[in-house]
Amino acid sequence: MFDVLTENFDAFASGLWVTTRLVFASFVVALVLGTVVAALRVAPVRAMQAAGAVYVEIFRNTPLLVLLFISFAGLRRAEVDISAWTAGIASLGVYTSAYVAEALRSGVAAVSRGQIEAGLSLGFSYAAVLRRIVLPQAFRTVIAPLASVTIAMVKNSAIVGASLLALPDLLKEARIVNSNTFQTTEAFFWAAVGYLLLTATATVVFRALESRYAIHR
């Protein structure tokens, strides 16, 4: 069991590092885009709401693997020189951002309507009401759902490595170890441990955020 890990430690370590960078960069993309889209969805303008809804429905209802193909093979064929890294981060980020947007929207919905009206009547612009009053509270209520989204994203990152992007992520390195050693159970066991390290870290971070910021109603 342990010899598969020690003999192929470099492979597993580099795979874990690739997955970590991929997940981290995608998370930043997802958080930024998700916040913008959530703001659109709760905006007082019909067209903005519709744009936000269309964005969410497109990216939440498209398989990640299809997004990866379109963003990589499709764009490259359209003469856009996109790298496997960029395509991977963009696809995973955009895909996850739809879920982040929905989580945030639920958080916004949880902030009572009266606060928005109070803010507006005090002369705040709608953007300022969102930024200063609603979103800070929304973020607090959505820490737990965001943790779920993040954990799902860590696991979805394996699809990036399995796609034609051929990024040497943790799962791909495990499959290479498997094809070299034929020790299937061990290779995938250690890959699972690697993913568990990442998801456990995410869980611990979100727990800490929750105990510090969460609103208990």
Partner: protein
């Protein structure tokens, strides 16, 4: 509850219909595949008790081939016929026996069981001759020598395996080329994917600089996209293909090798090569003259 009473009746009817359809399908399958090049020839006679006599009595030879490896064995989407280099040689064998050939799909995983359990009489499915397989089945002399090659876009600056250093090279995860490339081009940036069609996509859209695997598979890619070309002269591995049959059937082996000799010497081999490979790769190749023993010893060049 009249509905319930009908269930067994319906089931029996269905089984009978399926069984009937199954039989019909088999006969028809043989008929449609067998372009029966042997028809019109007189019945040939073979020494009683040999595999040849048994096949001649039956009137058909069952040959296991690939259905998805152009240009060796593939289903032509235009006419739904099985075609390719392996199929042409299979037809030549059938003609020599005076029977019609029936082609059966044999993938890499089941072709050896197909031989040992008698599902097929012969396998012609891009099968590399090696010692491990020779423990299970009999081989003919090599009828084709495939080679591990490098495919690039035309005009690429990759001229050989040494130029792969620092370049992105695609091959299939778990294939023998993963190991071969790690040994012969240790500084290449390997991109390992699940299927060769993904490698084709990656080289077409410029995400990798080269693809490496059997020249037979690479030729299939050139047929798809003629802006791709083989790197001339560079060979990573040598893969002699042999026909497979039941182990120890020496009379059948002699017969098949005789057919192969004739096939090679009267120009049919060359015509098949030009038709299925040469016109796409713009390369020339002579029929292989290596023997089975040389192939097993790894002495084929």
């Amino acid at each position: 509850m009249s509905r319930r009473r009908w269930v067994p009746v319906a089931a029996v009817a269905m089984v009978m219909a399926l069984a009937g359809a199954g039989c019909g399908g088999d006969d028809e399958g043989g008929g449609s595949e067998g372009t029966s090049q042997g028809s019109g020839q007189s019945q040939k006679s073979f020494e009683a008790g040999t595999t040849m006599a048994r096949i001649a009595d039956k009137g058909e030879i069952r040959i296991g081939v690939k259905y998805d490896v152009p240009p060796f064995g593939f289903k032509n989407p235009r006419n739904n016929q099985i075609e390719g280099f392996d199929i042409d040689f299979g037809k030549a064998v059938a003609q020599e026996l005076g029977v019609k050939p029936t082609f059966v799909e044999a993938i890499s995983d089941n072709r050896i069981p197909f031989i040992t359990d008698g599902t097929v009489d012969l396998v012609l499915s891009t099968m590399t001759i090696n010692e491990e397989r020779a423990q299970e089945i009999g081989f003919t002399d090599p009828y084709f020598i495939a080679r591990g090659r490098i495919l690039t876009k035309e005009g690429s600056d990759i001229k050989g395996v040494d130029d792969l250093a620092g370049k992105k090279v695609c091959t299939a995860l778990g294939s023998t080329y993963e190991e071969t490339l790690k040994k012969q081009a240790p500084r290449a940036d390997l991109r390992l994917v699940d299927t060769y069609s993904e490698c084709l996509e990656l080289i077409q859209n410029g995400a990798v600089d080269a693809v490496s695997t059997d020249d037979v598979i690479l030729t299939g890619m050139i047929i798809q996209d003629d802006s791709l070309a083989l790197v001339p002269g560079e060979e990573l591995t040598v893969e002699p293909y042999g026909g497979g049959f039941k182990r120890g059937d020496t009379k059948f082996a002699e017969f098949l090798n005789g057919v192969l000799e004739k096939y090679k010497s009267d120009g049919r081999w060359q015509r098949a090569y030009d038709k299925w490979l040469g016109q796409y790769t713009k390369e020339e190749q002579k029929p292989p003259d290596a023997t089975l023993d040389q192939a097993l010893q790894g002495e084929v060049t």
